[in-house]
């Protein structure tokens, strides 16, 4: 959480950081007390608002209503499952303190119950261009529509998850926060926006809202365990988690693309032996990568640093060599506005300050796009900071999530995943995807990769093994469906299955071709339709195949089929969504509105699930 900046506050860098850490952890009463305390010392009351300040939060005496309800509703909007996991964890903590908690996905929440809800906590992530996750869409639209009720009696707070490298960072959380205020709601606590490394700020928000709720019901216990609990929100069955990854031995690492392809897709098989980790089809694998050694060397050399210098590796006080820090601990391939704001204070060149001027917003956006820390180092030299000062402004190197492409039951103690190597040239230099190229170039069988399991409750096979499944996964989007089908094979599931796959060239880019052929032969996979876009004069994609089979596809839906879409969000998922609407409209003889409602219902019934990125 980086909310107070040098540029938006009168504080110095280190002051802002202290405040950023402290403020989210304050309860309402602590904040009120602090406001008074500061006022008493002759200054104006500090604006505790971190983003989009709201007086309401400070002015509203949180503990005003003695008859306050002990019922809390936690709604989450989650694409990859992070928000859902946090919601579950928060629910557990609240229950321990005697609250009655109702946790649900936003799209499963009956909106007519909203008017009667007193305590509402929202945990929601943001996707793409500031969009809500799939299971938050309908709730989001409802709240922003004319049908949304006035909510004067509502006490709420929002936790947003996002990534500062996106322009619309935590936009969905911000939208909810603002909208609930507009509808008359009162903040239980300030919204907290989390960057990729969300554990600490999320734990701070937990403490804040639990404190506020306790004050409302006059039950002033302090949730001391909150931080600890939030940190261990992942998979409790194993000692290994996002914060304590398991070092899994690489059993296999091979290229799935044939010679002559312009793509490289790696299939990795890891051993989970001894980890206690398990997973279900649809779950993801978090992999902690290493930065490209050449980039690290170039950065150190551009800055004139000493690779062996001891620097902090994290905020917990651990130290290590600069080289080690840049290889394994800090993100150096993505520029964000907050990072540039902090870097501006370390640069002796005025150009960076100028780039951050409000009127140069577009120029800043253009600059950030496709550039990395080496560009920054070169473009805004000379620097007046030490290596230690510099790394202190960097984000922690985040893990990358990949759809798991194997079934645990079919391959016990193994996990397979699928990564397409990202390599491209930009701004005159070869660029490499951090994790994908790490896996493609520097990971050999026998090596160990730090990994964790990220469960994804929103991408799951139907509970009923007889239910038909329709899987749409072009490119690496096909990965989870290998897991689905392996699982169904082990289960001996009777349900029909239909896979739509596409890529560029049949000969070289048909990922897992021989696996599908075998599954077709054995009847595990009932139907496979493929689209190879560069083999024919007109480009054909999966959505074209979907449209070609509209009657049959609609018939499957009528038989209760579940639809799964995995892969590229921007183009594919959108085009597939449109194609599905067309199928329902045409084959189902419905109006556009009815088709949209049909698909919405499928989504609410968890029969239309997406894992898109």
């Amino acid at each position: 959480m980086v909310q107070l900046h040098v540029t938006n506050s009168p504080f110095s860098e280190s002051q802002a950081e202290l405040l950023n850490r402290l403020l989210p952890t304050l309860t309402e009463s602590q904040r009120i007390w602090l406001g008074g305390y500061l006022a008493a010392f002759g200054g104006a009351a500090v604006a505790p608002a971190v983003q989009e300040p709201s007086a309401a939060a400070v002015q509203e005496p949180a503990a005003a209503a003695p008859a306050a309800s002990r019922e809390v509703t936690i709604l989450f909007g989650s694409q990859t499952g992070n928000c859902q996991r946090l919601a579950t964890s928060l629910s557990g903590q609240l229950k321990e303190q005697g609250f009655t908690v109702n946790v649900s996905a936003m799209n499963s929440f009956k909106t007519n119950a909203l008017k009667k809800t007193e305590n509402l906590l929202l945990i929601v992530s943001t996707h793409g261009e500031g969009e809500p996750p799939d299971n938050a869409r309908s709730f989001y639209e409802f709240l922003h529509s004319k049908r949304a009720p006035q909510l004067e009696g509502l006490h709420y707070s929002v936790l947003g998850l996002g990534d500062t490298s996106y322009e619309f960072f935590c936009q969905t959380g911000k939208d909810f926060d603002k909208r609930l205020e507009e509808l008359g709601g009162t903040r239980l606590g300030l919204r907290v926006d989390c960057d990729l490394d969300y554990d600490e700020p999320a734990a701070g928000w937990f403490t804040q809202v639990i404190g506020a709720l306790n004050e409302r019901v006059n039950a002033p216990q302090i949730a001391e365990a909150a931080v600890e609990a939030a940190e261990h929100a992942d998979a409790p069955a194993s000692p290994y988690s996002r914060n304590q990854p398991f070092y899994a031995e690489v059993l296999e690492n091979l290229n799935l693309n044939g010679r002559g392809s312009d793509r490289e897709t790696r299939h990795l098989e890891l051993s989970l032996e001894g980890s206690g980790l398990a997973f279900e089809p649809g779950d993801s694998l978090g992999v902690y990568p290493e930065n490209h050694p050449q980039l690290v060397e170039a950065l150190i050399s551009a800055m004139g640093w000493d690779a062996g210098e001891t620097v902090p590796l994290n905020k917990k006080g651990e130290t290590g060599s600069l080289r080690e820090a840049l290889l394994r601990h800090y993100e150096i391939t993505v520029l964000t506005k907050p990072l540039l704001e902090q870097a501006a204070k370390l640069s002796a060149a005025p150009a960076l300050q100028e780039l951050l001027l409000p009127e140069r917003q577009q120029a800043l956006k253009d600059y950030i796009h496709g550039r990395d820390l080496l560009d920054l180092a070169v473009d805004f030299a000379p620097w007046k900071a030490t290596a230690s000062e510099f790394v202190a402004i960097l984000r922690k190197l985040p893990a990358r999530l990949y759809s798991i492409s194997s079934s645990y039951n079919a391959n016990p103690d193994e996990v397979h995943f699928t990564v397409r190597a990202v390599r491209y040239e930009a701004n005159g230099r070869q660029r490499y995807g951090v994790c994908s190229v790490h896996c493609a170039e520097r990971v050999q069988p026998g090596d160990k990769l730090p990994i964790y399991i990220q469960s994804n409750p929103n991408f799951k096979l139907p509970a009923n093994p007889d239910a038909p499944v329709i899987m749409i996964g072009p490119g690496t989007g096909v990965a989870p469906f290998r897991s689905f089908l392996e699982e169904r094979e082990v289960q001996g599931a009777a349900g029909k299955s239909w896979l739509f796959y596409g890529d560029r060239h049949f000969v070289t880019d048909f990922l897992y071709q021989t696996d599908w052929q075998r599954m077709l032969k054995d009847g595990v996979l009932s139907k496979l339709d493929v689209a190879f876009s560069r083999d024919t004069a007109e480009k054909v994609y999966v959505q074209h195949r979907i449209l070609e089979h509209s009657r049959e596809l609609y018939a499957w839906l009528q038989e209760g089929a579940h639809i799964y879409v995995c892969g590229d969000e921007k183009h594919m998922a959108h085009d597939v969504h449109t194609a599905l609407l067309t199928v329902i409209e045409e084959a189902g003889g419905m109006s556009a509105e009815a088709a949209a409602a049909y698909l919405d219902t499928l989504q609410q019934e968890q029969r239309y699930q997406r894992d898109v990125y």
């Binding site: 044939g258 010679r259 071709q513 021989t514 339709d529």
Partner: protein, 574 residues
């Protein structure tokens, strides 16, 4: 030849798998329409691949990539070889241009001239087969019966010295080809969007010559024009040797029962030479061929495919039985064979003026492969010539090409183009290299056990210094290499031959007749390059020193006792 010769297996077992596929195929349809469309695999099931052969194509894969692709969870790099029928190896300049374009558009950018004067295109993907075949048909060529258990491309000597005769003999090759072509509408249905013919009329046979099961095995016909035996007439199931009397085509001597293929380690299989059985008039050629084909249809071994060729049918029953059966079916008798003389089976390179006053340019094509490389723009050069050429292209049985029928007006321009692209008549190459021939083998041929086309040039690089040191640079020695014993480059007729046994290992055969009139014999088994050179070097020097005037290498190694003469396929293994 007696019926009870131990080298010949009796027939009478159950029909082979391929016989079942044929009979169930409904005249070569099978499930091809459906399996060609299946988008999940670039290949075909084996049954349909067998049938596809009759349509002129079969499935191959890049064997260099097999293991790599298997690891990558990809099926083999399936691709299709497409063979274009060209009776006597004749193609117009316009046809040449179409094939050149198709090779680039759908194939691997090369063309291969086969040892049977046909064109081959490699690397065609399943999805492109139909369009490729359609385009070939649009240019009045066909792929029908280029492979499969039917009469194959009919060979005919393209001898440019005797152009008038060539044209006449070639016309018979074309008529034989047409007459023996399958009649099934399946080809039109599958490739040319022809209307489905639901059922043949009751009682009318769709295939009047072949019947519903076609032949037990492939069948090959070649027509030679002496003194050149470039078609290796004795290697053909049915051969015709043109007899010229008073400057006119009097007719043909007929040979029967030749064939090259065998199986390593199975002495019941062997190469064999055709035997001279008589003489027929030109207009009787079709009748002789048709009746011969029906005899093989009725008597060939349909139980064991490797004993199904016509040569085994003849050796099992005896040549006299065959003659009697043929005369019976013809209703007339062949005349006594007439005198003829062959003096070589290689090509004569360079510019030659024909009887009609037109020019012919024979170009040396290494292993028949038409392609562009960094330092040799052969394919481009031939394409540029085809754009202005008003005559024909003739493919030779030695995989070379003759730009034939060049008018005096075009001669200068074509010579200039040939010069610009460095198209070679092979004059700067050793006679050994000019007389060398190889099959495709790896990586596309599924049968290959060792390299051939890709390796022979390298082996020749190492043999040439030996030849040169021995002073034999201008001495033609027929040298052939195949990747397996099936015989595509007619290896049993090489004075020196290499037949692949395993990667890098070959059986060495020697002692065939220079004019293709005697089979060779195994000299060393399973040897690598070092052993090849160690073996051949002293023999070549010996030959250089002690050969008699005009004595060919194949004769010398027999006279010197290196190998015994093979007088019949039946003692090939003896």
């Amino acid at each position: 030849m007696a019926n009870h010769d131990p080298a010949v297996k009796p027939i009478g077992g159950p029909p082979s798998d391929v016989e079942h596929i044929k009979i169930e195929s409904n005249y070569l349809r099978g499930a091809l329409e459906e399996t060609l469309r299946n988008p999940i695999t670039g290949g075909l099931p084996e049954d349909d691949n067998r049938l596809l052969k009759f349509h002129g194509s079969y499935m191959q894969d890049d064997r260099d990539l097999r293991l790599e692709r298997e690891r990558s969870k990809l099926e083999p790099a399936y691709q299709f070889m497409l063979r274009v029928v060209a009776p006597g190896g004749v193609a117009s300049a316009a046809q040449w241009l179409v094939l050149d374009e198709l090779a680039h558009k759908y194939g691997n950018g090369t063309l291969r001239l086969t040892t049977r004067q046909a064109f081959q295109m490699h690397g065609v993907l399943k999805w492109n087969l139909k369009q490729t075949i359609k385009t070939i048909n649009d240019t009045l060529m066909t792929t029908l019966a280029a492979c499969g258990d039917v009469n194959r491309n009919v060979m005919s000597g393209p001898n440019p010295y005797q152009s008038e005769l060539h044209a006449e003999v070639n016309e018979w090759a074309r008529r034989l080809s047409d007459h023996l072509a399958p009649r099934t509408p399946a080809y039109h249905e599958i490739w040319l969007d022809g209307e489905k013919v639901v059922d043949s009329l009751k009682g009318v046979e769709v295939e009047p010559i072949y019947g519903p099961v076609y032949l037990p095995r492939k069948f090959k016909i070649g027509l030679a024009v002496p003194p050149s035996n470039d078609v290796d007439v004795f290697s053909q199931d049915l051969g015709f040797i043109a007899i010229v009397e008073d400057g006119k085509l009097a007719g043909f001597n007929v040979t029967a029962g030749g064939g090259m293929g065998m199986t390593h380690g199975d002495t019941n299989t062997y190469p064999q030479l055709g035997r001279l059985i008589g003489f027929c008039r030109p207009e009787q050629v079709i009748d002789v061929a048709e009746k011969t084909v029906t005899i093989q249809r009725d008597y060939g071994n349909r139980s064991v495919r490797k004993n199904a060729r016509f040569k085994y049918t003849i050796d099992r029953h005896g040549i006299e039985w065959f003659k009697a059966e043929l005369h019976d079916r013809l209703g007339w008798q062949l005349e006594e064979a007439r005198g003829y003389h062959f003096d070589h089976n290689g090509d004569r390179y360079g510019w030659v003026k024909g009887y009609d006053g037109k020019w012919n340019l024979t170009l040396y094509i290494q292993s028949g492969r038409i392609q562009d490389t960094d330092d040799y723009q052969l394919m481009t050069g031939l394409r540029e010539i085809a754009k202005i050429h008003t005559g024909e292209f003739r493919l030779t049985p030695n995989q070379n090409v003759i730009i034939a029928g060049i008018t005096s007006a075009k001669k200068r321009k074509i010579a200039e183009l040939a010069g610009r692209y460095g198209l070679t008549d092979g004059a700067h190459l050793s006679a050994l290299r000019r007389s060398a021939m190889s099959c495709v083998a790896l990586p596309t041929c599924g049968l290959a056990m060792a390299e051939a086309e890709r390796y022979l040039p390298h082996l020749l690089d190492k043999l040439e210094p030996v030849i040169q040191e021995a002073g034999l640079s201008e001495k033609e020695i027929v040298i052939r290499m195949t990747g397996c014993p099936n015989g595509c480059a007619r290896p049993a007729l090489g004075e020196i031959s290499f037949i692949g046994k395993a990667p890098g290992r070959y059986n060495l055969y020697m002692g065939a007749g220079f004019t293709g009139d005697r089979l060779n014999k195994l000299y060393k088994e399973n040897i690598d390059e070092r052993e090849i050179l160690e073996t051949l070097t002293p023999i070549i020097h010996h030959y250089a020193k002690e050969r008699l005037g005009g004595e060919h290498f194949g004769d010398f190694v027999i006279r010197s006792g290196y190998v015994n003469a093979t007088t019949s396929g039946l003692n090939f293994h003896a």
